[in-house]
Each structure stands twice: as C-alpha cells, then as structure tokens.
Amino acid sequence: MKLLRHASDWRQLFVVGAYLTMLVLLFAVPEARHPALLAAACMFSFFAMTVNHNVMHLGLFEDRRLNRLFRLVLSFCALFPVSSVIPSHNLVHHHFDDDGQPDWADPHHARFRWNLLNLLHFPNIVGPITFSHINRWQRLTGKADYRRQATLESIVAFGFTGCLLAYDFWTTLFFVLVPQLWGARWFLRVNIIQHDGCNTASEWNHSRNFSGRLLNWFSVNAGYHTIHHNRAGLHFSQLPAAHQKECAPRIHPALMEKSLLVYLAKTYLLRFSRPGMVDVGEAETRAPTVELASREVRRDEAEVASAGV
C-alpha cells in the first residue's frame, strides 16, 4: 500500500521535517543559535504553513489517521489548531465572502495610509476576526469529528509548547515561539499580499501570483494562487501547468510577479501609500471563456471535500 498519495508529496514532508529539525537544533544546541539558522527556521515555519494549506485541501497520506496525526504536528509547527483552516480558508476565503459579509481575511481590514503598516499589522486584525468567526462556525456547525480533532490539535500545540516553556522558558520563547508565531502570522499576511488591489469579483483576476522557482519549490507552489482558488482540488504539483494553460492568458500583468521579495520591497518599502486600484478584471475579457463552476457550486464542493480530509 502506498504511504503518500502523490510521489511529489515527499517535498511537503521534507519542508516540515526540515523546519522541525531546525527547531530542535535551536532549542537543544546552544552553538547552533546563529541568526542565519533562526531566519531559516522562521522561513521554514512559513513554508510549513503552505504545506498545511495544501494538506487541508488534499490529504497527504493514503491513511486518514496519518493525515489526522500530521495535523497535530502542523498545529505545533505554528501554534494554532490547523483544522481551523477548513472553515476560514476552504469554505470562506476561497469564495471571498461569507454570504454577503466580507472575507474574514479581506485585505481592506487593514486601513493605514502607510502601506508598510498594513502589511505588518494585518495579522493583528484578521487573526482575531478569523478566530472569532471560526469559533462561531465551530460552535454552530462544526461536526463532533471536527471539534474533537481541533481540540486535540489545541492540546498538542499549546500543551507541548507549554511543557517546553516550563522546561526552559527563555530558550523556548526565543527559539521555538518566535519561529512558530512568524510562520502563523506570515500565513495570514499571504491574504493581503495575494489579494490586495485585485478584483475579487472577477474569476481570473482575484489573486496575485508569484512565479519564482525557488519560492515555489519551498512553498510547494503557493505562488500559483489564481488557479488554486479556481481549481482547489488540484494537487500542488499540477498547479504550474494548469496556471499556464488557464490563467496566464487571462491574468492582468500587474498580478503576475516573478519575485515575492521584489514585490514586497516595491509595494511596502519603496513607496509610502497603498497602490491604487487597477482595472485588472478587464484582462480576462480578452481571452475565450473557460468552463468554471460558479463560486456557490465550488463552495458546496469544498464543504463536501473538507469532510473527507
């Protein structure tokens, strides 16, 4: 019997394994506490969250119990119950609203004139908004199975981190909590990076894409965001080809970036104000239409699919 659903899923395991190895080194080996290793751990914490994002859409393992176990590991990686990504991301964010209410992680929750502050403060706003909605969703609609899994994830994430704090407070604070919170907070920031200035009413110009090969290798193709929104069931390894085929002809050039770092620098460091809106949606009118189910249908499909993850 196969362990993983796709051969390329070893990459996802590698990313999480590398991150945990770095955490162990930082925690247990004082000589390893170099700025470069801490920076790498922070980056891999974010990459582990992109893995988390993928496995919430498509389980990594053939065995459902292993998938549930892997979620416990991921919950420790970023210090939150990762199953909460199902309501917040799969069921709401993918359709950009919750029945008339804006997406819980809508970029417009950030409202500073200095755009750098929007990027920095964004998780401080959408984190609490998202979790208050998740709690309501969980209380009202969350099935017993979901609630049990989310509770287990909380116990593992907070329990294990709490034990580490009790064992060695300062080392855990500096070399475990910092990477954990870094990953979780950049995972939230992806929402403003990939959707600010986009037209969420459009079917092909609702997201910003990043095509850099290095970033996409480590972030398991998180850069190809438009195609992921529209075809959420595609495995990460299929995203670049599907992007080329369906999205590239329909995406406004302003939403196709090569490098994430260059984009961050030019949008948040080298300018003061938030960039104005561009009519990005007109780009898709130039290419022939592609068959795509309505958002309502896709939302229903996501609801069904999430039960099986």
Binding site: D99, H121, P128, I129, L140, T141, F174, F175, L177
Partner: protein, 254 residues
C-alpha cells in the same frame, strides 16, 4: 551567536511595535469619531416624528437553525441599507419639515434591532441547508423620538442624520472606549517591560514580565478588534447573533 540579551531586546521591540500599531489603528477610529462629533456639535435637535414615517433602516440576515448547543436560530448579517424619505416632525413645540440631504444616514438602536423576534413562519425554511432570509427593519414611525442633524432653512431641516440614539453621547462613549483601550494597551506593555527588565534580568520576576508581554501580544489584538467593531457607525453595526427557537405550540387534546 544569538545571546539571550539580543533575543530579549528583539522580542521586546516586537512587543512594542505591536503595542504601537494597535494604538495607531485605534487612533484612526478616534479621529473619525472626533471628526463626526465636531461636524454634529450644536446641530443635533431632538424631535418627534409627525404623521408620516420619516425613514427606515434594514439589515438583511440569513437565518439558519442549529442544534448546538441547543436548538436555536443563528442569524448572519448580509447587507445593511437605509433611506430617509422625510416628513413633518415637531422639535419642542416647533413644527419642522425634514428633507433628506444627499447621502443622509439613518442610525437605528442596536438593542431594539437585536430584540426583534424571528418570525415563526421561518421555522421550516430556516432548517434547510441554505436557511431563510429575513429583514430586521427599523422605522422612524409617527410618534417616535428621533435625533436629527442637518441644516435649517426656515421651517425646513435638510437632514444628514436621523438617529434613534443620541449621536453625540454615542460618539462620546465610543471615543472613551477607544481611549480606554489605548491606555490599557500602553499600560500593559509598559508594565510587562518594567517587570521583564527587573534585575536580575532573565530571573524569575523577569520571566513573569515576559509572560505578561506575551499575554499582551496575544491578548490586546482581540480586544482592539472588539473595540473596532463597537465603533462601527450604528447604521453598519453587526446585529447578528443567536435566538432560541420559539416554543412548540401546544398539541390539541384528543
């Protein structure tokens, strides 16, 4: 190598950056509330609506039924809309004709909106997966006391705001709330910093200070979001919540 001192300073800087960003974000609300209060000061008059409904405010909601923890209607806001149509009012003993100014706003009273019961006829429709739709409607009906702000032109009041809550008091209470949270934010971060730097640094007391700062980092932002939502204009306030299902009608005796 990263020493505890270097990491301690870095973590302290992040804590303070968060505290300051929370403060700056709250100041956006504080300034908006202040600007609104300044625009309204000296221009609000209390009146009684005459024989014609002056306007309305509606919140469209989706109603769904849930079993957890006990059977209840769950209400989800979908859209807010309002219209000030105008009509006669009496301010003290003086009759006035209200004429809506462009973009005139209607502020309902949140408590009254939340108290509106769900129509029992929605019981069946709301049990389905898509639920049912309902409208929470507030009318500025004849005999109602309203607070009006606008420009007098003889016996006509070109009205920008018609409110069921006293707008200046509402604005004052929200500004106080914002200021209170800013004070709490800065006091919490300052206290944590002082205790964290208590000699010997990295000792037991210092550890408690770091825990206070961690609590601030994780705890101040939900409070700030709560206050932000409390500061939404009453015309856009969230009404949603849950309501118990109506009691089943008594079964007829055989």
């Amino acid at each position: 190598m990263l020493t505890s001192e270097v990491m301690g300073l870095a973590v302290l800087a992040v804590s303070w950056a968060t505290a300051l960003m929370v403060m700056l974000d709250l100041l956006i609300d504080f300034r908006a509330l202040g600007a609104r209060a300044k625009a309204l000061r000296g221009r609000v008059l209390q009146a009684t609506v005459g024989e014609k409904t002056l306007g309305f405010h509606e919140v469209e909601q989706r109603v769904r039924q849930f079993e957890v923890p006990k059977p209840a209607f769950a209400l989800f806001d979908r859209a807010h809309r309002w219209s000030l149509t105008g009509g006669p009012v009496t301010a003290g003993t003086e009759p006035l004709e209200v004429v809506p100014a462009p973009g005139a706003e209607v502020w309902p009273e949140l408590g009254a909106q939340q108290a509106q019961p769900v129509d029992p006829s929605l019981l069946k429709a709301s049990a389905g997966p898509k639920g049912a739709l309902r409208v929470v409607r507030t009318e500025l009906s004849p005999g109602t006391t309203v607070f009006l702000a606008g420009t007098r032109e003889g016996a006509t009041l070109r009205t920008e705001l018609a409110s069921l809550v006293e707008p200046l008091s509402w604005l004052r209470s929200r500004r106080t709330l914002v200021l209170g949270l800013i004070a709490l934010d800065l006091a919490w971060a300052s206290a944590g910093t002082a205790v964290a730097l208590w000699p010997p640094v990295f000792g037991l007391v210092s550890k408690l200070g770091a825990a206070v700062l961690l609590g601030h980092f994780l705890g101040i932002t939900p409070l700030a979001v709560l206050v932000r939502e409390k500061c939404r204009w009453p015309s856009l306030a969230f009404v949603q919540g849950e309501k118990p299902l109506p009691a089943a009608p008594p079964q007829p005796q055989a």
